[in-house]
Symmetry: C2
Amino acid sequence: MVEVLRLGHRRGRDDRISTHVALTARQFGASSVTFSGERDDSMLESVRDVVERWGGPFDIRYREDWRNVIRDFDGPVIHLTMYGVPYYEDIDGLEGDFGGSEDDILVVVGGEKVPSEVFEIADYNLAIGNQPHSEVAALAVFLHDLFQGDWTDREFEDAEIEVFPSEEGKETRKTDTSS
Amino acid sequence: MVEVLRLGHRRGRDDRISTHVALTARQFGASSVTFSGERDDSMLESVRDVVERWGGPFDIRYREDWRNVIRDFDGPVIHLTMYGVPYYEDIDGLEGDFGGSEDDILVVVGGEKVPSEVFEIADYNLAIGNQPHSEVAALAVFLHDLFQGDWTDREFEDAEIEVFPSEEGKETRKTDTSS
C-alpha cells in the first residue's frame, strides 16, 4: 500500500494543485491521500466527489499534525523534493527498503515552503530531477516507476461513470450502482 | 524536438497549473511551451524567470489562435486526454509516426474544457489512463516514457543556480554567468 501526504495546503491558492495531487495519487495506484496545512473542506469534498463518481477505494483525509503522520507511519517515508538525491541513482539501502518489498510506503510531497524538519524526519529525500518542478509531476513519475506501470490495470470499484476510450471524442458510460 | 501546447489558460484560476505544465515540459525534455486561452503576462514572466535562473534553452510563447498552432505544426500532434485511447496499447501507425522517429512532436494538453474540435484535428487522442487526472501528471508520464528516462541527463545552459543534490536538506550553488 502506498499512501500520500501533501504538506502545506493553502485555501484558495492551492486548491487546484492539491486536487491534482489527489487525482494523481488515486490514478497511479496510491490508496490514500492525507492533506495538511490549512483545512479546506470544499477541496476535500471535491476530491471525495470524484471518488464517489469514478470509484475507489481511495481515502481522503485531513490531519493538521503532519509530524505525527510521518512519525507514526510504519514503513519507509519518502519525501519527493527537487533538492534530494536523484531517485534513479543507486542509493544504499533504498532497493532493500521499498523496491518490490511488501512494506507500506508513505510518499510526502511539499507545498510552496517545506520545513527543514521534513528533510530530517523523512527516511529518504528523493528528487525526480533536480530542477524546479511540479509536485504533481514528481508524484506521477515516481508512482508510475514504483508500480512499473501496473497502475494501468487498476479497476476502480463502484464507479457510477467510466470512460469508453475513443480515438475521436468524449464517450462515457454510466452504471446504475443503486441496486 | 517536442513542443507542448497548453489550451484554455484562465488568468488567476489557472496560473499555478499552467506554471506547473511549463516546468514539467522544461524538465522532462520538451523544447518549448505555447500557452493559449487568456493572455497572462505575469504567468509567462514567472516561467521566463525560472528559465533565466535555472537555464535553458526553453521557449515560452503565447498564441491566441491555437487552431493554427496545431494546423501549422509539421509533425504528429498528440492530444493527451482522459477520453482517449490508452497510450500503452498498440495503436495502428503510432509507433511508426513518433516512436523513436526523428519527427518533431506537438503534445497538446487541455484546460478545464477542451473543444471537440481538438479531438478532430489532433492526429492522436491518447489517454494516460482513463480516469480523471491532472494534465501535469499526464504530460510528465508521457514525456518520461517517450524519452525513456533520458531527460535525466539533460544539461541546462547558462544556469545561474543549480541544486547540489543532498540526502538531508536544501543545497544550491550559484554560478556567475555575468562574464
